[in-house]
């Protein structure tokens, strides 16, 4: 028995019962969601503290792997599960007309995200992923404008396309190996998936799971959705949910797919993502879409990092992901009141000096100005790229550096407007206290990271090392062999 499953089960239970609770007491319905998430976060933290170097595996229903479904908790997965839970808590969606539904959706998102981060079964990952997708449709559409419906529908089309492809990829994997358990796949993959079929399965799943990770060809939804969804939802999607999709791709790369071609595919798509995302952000004239495009670019950097073979790549991708996890939600929260045309921002620093200062700090970190954490994260990507000594990897370095100067350009265009003293016709509204407090909290995390760089890097390194430790994964899950016990 392990309490870890409660991180998934409790939010689902609360979400199911929320409308019934609301009938009894609307106050209870308002507070129960955050309370449940606090409880699950506490469970996650307690498991984290006892985790140490030994990952844990839980079999749902007590059935032996690979027959049942495995829940695999290492620091890597648990980190993102906690990020999802705490992130949802911080960015608890507010909606005027649909508060009850929004609360249910937020609970579902937290539970699903934790499950996605911890799941050790291929099809189970697919189901979790689909649920998270559906929940994000709801969160986007909960704004209730016709634009949010249209962008949800377009998102749904791309997502549905990707999900079906991922399903086909899973079919190919099961066809080749006869198992869906990641640990067992890790055992048999070198023998059975190191061929064209395995590569095809990887590409199909990459496209499928890449939709949420804002992978290059399937990220057309990003600017529309982030421009039409409420800013808290955008912050959740761009900050946390995209990282979870990335985590799946990382897991698949580490455990199942070892083809060198797979890395090349990632590298090329990553480069294209960075180039298109940053150029589009440079051209964007409204803050929401600028941030959305820049998020595409950042995820492109993570894909480039993933394409570095071995431990260094996972470490670098993890560092960039964690940095982005703090940074993007804060930026979207600031964009809550500053959304719309950049030109309208003239002089906004006057009404909200704290927010403006914070925006400067976040921008500097995003560009990668030393000594802010963003710089070290990017350096972790660039350095191993340079040692690989291949033209395409060098080109990736060039793209990342060029992207940094583009970022500097467009972000400081915004900063300049903020500090412009010419008044605009419409006076600026100050930020909501909760938004600003959350953003300051996240920004404070960034600054704190500057002073704890070395221990932080060590910790991330150990997390990455644990994530890439395939043999421990197999030993912990210990799937029974399929040979012999068949008629």
């Amino acid at each position: 028995m392990n309490l870890l499953v409660l991180m998934i089960a409790l939010p689902l239970l609360a979400a199911f019962l929320l409308s019934i609770i609301d009938r009894a007491s609307s106050f209870a319905a308002r507070v129960i969601g955050p309370l449940v998430l606090l409880a699950t976060a506490a469970i996650g933290l307690s498991v984290w503290s006892q985790l140490g170097d030994a990952p844990q595996a839980v079999q749902w229903g007590g059935f032996q792997a690979p027959l049942g479904i495995t829940l695999y908790a290492d620091q890597f997965g648990l980190l993102f599960a906690l990020a999802m839970t705490i992130g949802t808590l911080l960015l608890w969606p507010r909606s005027t007309g649909n508060q009850l539904r929004s609360s249910s959706l937020a609970l579902l998102l937290a539970g699903t995200g934790s499950g996605l981060a911890l799941s050790g079964d291929l099809f189970n990952i697919y189901v979790f992923y689909e649920l998270m997708t559906v929940v994000s449709y709801g969160l986007i559409a909960s704004r209730g404008t016709s634009g949010s419906f249209a962008s949800t529908l377009r998102y749904l089309v791309i997502s549905g396309f990707g999900a079906a492809l991922a399903l086909a990829g899973i079919a190919l994997v099961y066809q080749a190996t006869g198992t869906l358990n990641l640990a067992q796949l890790a055992q048999v993959a070198p023998e059975k998936l190191n061929n064209l079929q395995g590569f095809a399965a990887f590409v199909l799943m990459l496209v499928g799971f890449g939709v949420k990770a804002e992978l290059f060809p399937v990220n057309m939804w990003v600017p529309e959705v982030y421009a039409t969804a409420s800013s808290r939802v955008s912050a959740l999607l761009a900050g946390v949910v995209s990282k979870l999709a990335l985590l799946i791709i990382m897991r698949l790369l580490i455990l199942v797919f070892h083809q060198p071609e797979a890395l090349t595919v990632l590298l090329v798509l990553g480069i294209l993502g960075v180039a298109t995302g940053e150029l589009a952000a440079w051209r964007a004239r409204d803050l929401n879409r600028m941030l959305a495009f820049s998020s595409i670019g950042q995820l492109g950097v993570m894909f480039i990092a993933l394409s570095i073979p071995g431990n260094a790549g996972i470490f670098a991708a993890l560092a960039v992901a964690v940095h982005h996890l703090f940074l993007k939600p804060a930026m979207f929260l600031l964009a809550a009141r500053w959304g719309g045309s950049i030109r309208r921002l003239c002089g906004a620093a006057k009404t909200s000096p704290v927010a403006a200062g914070l925006f400067v700090l976040l921008s500097l970190s995003l560009i990668g100005v030393p000594p802010l954490p963003g710089f070290w994260a990017k350096l972790l990507v660039i350095m191993p790229l340079l040692t690989l000594d291949q033209p395409l990897y060098y080109f990736a370095v060039f793209i990342i550096l060029a992207a940094a100067s583009l970022e500097a350009n467009y972000l400081f265009r915004v900063v300049m407007k903020l500090y412009d003293k010419q008044p605009t016709a419409v006076p600026h509204k100050a930020h909501a206290t909760a938004d600003l407090a959350t953003a300051v909290f996240l920004g404070g995390g960034l600054i704190a990271a500057v002073f704890m760089l070395v221990p932080l890097a060590d910790r991330l390194d150990s997390i990455a090392a644990q994530a890439t430790d395939v043999s421990t994964y197999i030993q912990t899950v210990a799937p029974q062999s399929l040979e012999g016990d068949v008629q």
Binding site: L379, P391, R413, D420
Partner: protein, 299 residues
């Protein structure tokens, strides 16, 4: 002991850079004067200028951000100096490398943007948005150069680059090995230095608008100091990448002065470019040259 040595180096490097930068400013002005058939300022003029600027009353200050901006602009360069290896002083060069340097050189422009953005002057904003665009214009070819060079030497460590070039003689100098990239760097050098003919965003003295109007007294002094560092940095980077750096100041100094002098004397012959044209120019010719150069060295 080791730590103390490093501390001295970190202090010494910016100071040296400042002094040499002052000399470069003087040289640049003299060149400009010669081309325009004037006598030019006396030897100590840059020092007089700084004293004058700092002793003048600061007429207007736009609050904290304004000052932070200038501090960032100068500080960025000071930090960059500690990353640039010069004869006898390595500083942080073997820790940072070319990539860190590329990021560092972005800071001053951002600092300027931050500071000037705070001013009420709309023309200041225009000037800064031009400055940012100009930065974008030269940064992309600049990065192209940096990574072509690191590809050839197989390292991003500037100190190692110097060692390689010094040990293997002139034939291994960057300018011989990759002339096209060197030419690219030379083309963008005036833009990196923020000098003629790519300086419309600064528009010093002649035009009564632009960011400089808001910079009086100590701010102007800060910018003047920054200019010294700017010239010095550009010269040292080029020398390190392409001219073998230097083991002794006696060979190193002529190189960096030459690097600054040559593009300056040519650049003074051209009229100023508009910012859009800078972007077009930079992304066309130096980019093209850089890409060809890259193709040549990567084969």
């Amino acid at each position: 002991m080791h730590f103390f040595e490093l501390l001295v180096e970190l202090l010494l490097m910016p100071i040296l850079a400042f002094v040499i930068g002052l000399a470069m400013v003087l040289m640049m002005r003299r060149i400009g004067a010669r081309i325009q058939r004037r006598v030019g300022p006396p030897v100590l003029q840059p020092i007089y200028d700084i004293i004058k600027l700092y002793s003048k009353e600061t007429q207007i200050s736009h609050g904290l951000m304004h000052e932070i901006g200038i501090i960032m602009a100068v500080g960025g360069y000071i930090a960059a100096e500690t990353l640039l290896p010069v004869p006898g002083l390595d500083g942080l060069a073997d820790k940072g490398g070319a990539v860190t340097l590329a990021y560092m050189l972005m800071i001053p422009a951002l600092g300027m943007a931050l500071g000037v953005g705070q001013c009420a002057n709309p023309n200041g904003s225009i000037g800064i948005s031009r400055a940012l665009t100009a930065m974008l214009a030269y940064d992309i070819p600049f990065i192209l150069v940096i990574f072509g060079v690191s590809y050839v030497y197989g390292t991003t460590n500037l100190a190692e680059m110097i060692t390689i070039q010094q040990q293997q003689g002139v034939a291994s100098w960057g300018i011989v090995q990759m002339p096209l990239l060197a030419l690219t760097a030379l083309l963008i050098l005036p833009a990196i230095m923020g000098k003629h003919p790519f300086e419309i965003y600064v528009a010093p003295a002649e035009i009564a608008t632009g960011p400089m109007v808001e910079m009086s007294g100590k701010f102007m002094g800060g910018l003047f100091v920054m200019q010294c560092f700017q010239l010095y940095t550009a010269g040292v980077i080029f020398t390190t990448l392409f001219l073998g750096g230097g083991l002794y100041w006696i060979t190193f100094l002529p190189k960096i002065f030459l690097v600054v002098a040559i593009p300056m004397s040519v650049a003074y012959l051209f009229p100023r470019y508009r910012t859009e044209d800078v972007l077009r120019l930079m992304w066309k010719w130096p980019m093209l040259l850089g890409l060809i150069g890259l193709a040549v060295v990567m084969k």
